[in-house]
Symmetry: C2
Subunit: 209 residues, 2 copies
DNA sequence: CTTCCTGTACCCTGATCAGGTGACACATCA
DNA sequence: TGATGTGTCACCTGATCAGGGTACAGGAAG
C-alpha cells in the first residue's frame, strides 16, 4: 500500500515537480495537491493522507495556520514544512503549531524522499541549519545564574513559586511561620529583590526552580 | 588540513573502532581518545579539537558534566553525544549543557561520518527519534488555555508577572490604585486563584504572558 | 576552639494585599 | 432601548507581607 501524500504549494512548477518526483518510485501516491489551504480541513478529512507537504507562504491561508487547523482534529498525519523561510519566527511557529519536520526548499531534491521515510518512522526531518536553530534555542534558555541559595532556601522558593502562601509553606514543611519568613528574607537578600512576586518572577524566569 | 577529533568513550572496543573508522579516509585525525573525562578541561585546551565525540555513561565524570565543563571556556568546539540513552532527561540535559548533536549508538556506523560533516557545517545531527523528542517537547509546551482575560487585564497581569507591585502598576499605567485592585480581583476570578503569586505562577507557567 | 553558615524561632511596626460592596461612563449588541 | 461587558474609581476590614532586630543549636571549616 503506497504512502498517501497531500501537497500544499502555491507555485505551480514546484507543485508539479514534487508530484512527478514522488510518483516515480511507486512507493508514494500523491492523492492531491492544492495551491492554497482554504479548504484544508475538508480536504484532509476526505483524503486521509499519511503525509502532508506544506508550504508556508501561500495566498488566503498560510501554511502555519493550516497546520493549526489540521491539528485541531488530526494528530496522526505527519506534516513536513517545505519552505524558503529559515528565520526563528517561522520555524518555531511551525513547530508550535504541530509540524513534524521542516525542510528548506533549497535542499528538497536531495532530502525529500529520505525525509518522508524518516517522518513516517517517527523521526523529525529538519534541514541542518533548522536543527541547529532548534537546539540553540534550547540552550540559550538556561543561563542559570547561581545565587548561592541553600537547599532549604531553594525548597522554600519552590513552594513559593507554586503559589503557596507563607502559612501554607509553614504547615507543609512543619516549621513555624516565622522560620519561613526568615528564609524568605534571606532569599530576598540573595536574589536582590524585595517582594514575593519579584522573587517568584525571577525564580521562574531564570529557572531556579 | 584534516578535522581534529577527540573521543571520550569508556568501552575500549568501541573507542578503538571509532578511531579506526575515522582514520580510514584521511579527512579526519583522531588527536586522542580517553576512557574517562577526569582531565577533560586540560585535554581540550591542549589538543584543540574541532569535534568531540562524547559518551554519557563513563566512570568518574559523566559526559554531560564534561560538556558543561568544556562550555565554560570553549564555545567553538562541536560536541556530538554518542550514547545508548534515549530518555528525555539525558537528551535534554545534554542539549542544555551545550551539545551540538546527539546520536544513538545503534545508528553510529551509518551516520557518524555524515554527522561529523553536518555538525561542522553548522547543523545539529540527531538520530531521528531524538529529533522527534526535541520538537515534541516544544509542542507540548503550549496548551495556552484561554481564560477570557480582557486586553487591559492581560496588560496588568504582565506587569504583575514582572514583579511590579500594585502601586507601581498604578503609577506606570497612570490609573488609581483601586482600579488596579479591581482589575486584579477580576483576574483572580477568571484564573481561579486568590493571591498574587498563584496568579503570577499560573501566568508564567501557562504562557499567558 | 572559635568563627561562620544554616536552620530554627520570636517580636514589632508599617506597608501591602484580599474580599466585599457600590458606583459611573462608555461601547456594543441584541 | 435595555442588557452586557469593560475600564475607571472609592471605601472598609481583616489578613498577609516586608524589614528591622535578636537569639540559639548544630555542623563545617579554619
Amino acid at each position: 500500500m503506497p504512502v498517501r501524500i497531500l501537497i500544499y504549494e502555491d507555485n505551480i512548477n514546484l507543485r508539479e515537480s514534487l508530484s512527478n518526483l514522488l510518483s516515480l518510485t511507486g512507493d508514494y501516491q500523491v492523492c492531491a495537491s492544492y495551491p492554497d489551504c482554504s479548504g484544508v480541513i475538508m480536504q484532509v478529512k476526505e483524503l486521509m493522507p499519511d503525509v502532508i507537504l506544506m508550504d508556508i507562504d501561500m495566498p488566503l491561508v498560510n501554511g502555519i495556520e493550516a497546520v493549526r487547523r489540521i491539528r485541531t482534529f488530526n494528530q496522526a498525519v505527519q506534516i513536513i514544512m517545505l519552505t524558503v523561510f529559515d528565520d526563528n519566527t517561522h520555524v518555531f511557529d511551525a513547530m508550535y503549531a504541530g509540524a513534524n519536520g521542516y525542510l528548506l526548499k533549497k535542499y528538497i531534491s536531495d532530502k525529500l524522499m529520505h525525509s518522508i521515510r524518516e517522518v513516517l518512522d517517527g523521526g523529525a526531518p529538519m534541514s541542518p541549519s533548522i536543527a541547529r536553530m532548534v537546539i540553540t534555542s534550547m540552550q540559550k534558555a538556561e543561563p542559570a545564574r547561581d545565587y548561592q541559595l541553600t537547599p532549604r532556601e531553594k525548597e522554600i522558593l519552590q513552594f513559593l513559586s507554586r503559589g503557596n502562601s507563607f502559612k501554607m509553606i509553614a504547615i507543609e514543611l512543619n516549621i513555624s511561620l516565622d522560620t519561613v519568613r526568615t528564609h524568605i528574607k534571606r532569599i530576598y537578600d540573595k536574589l536582590h529583590v524585595c517582594s514575593q512576586i519579584e522573587a517568584v518572577s525571577k525564580a521562574i524566569n531564570e529557572k531556579l526552580v
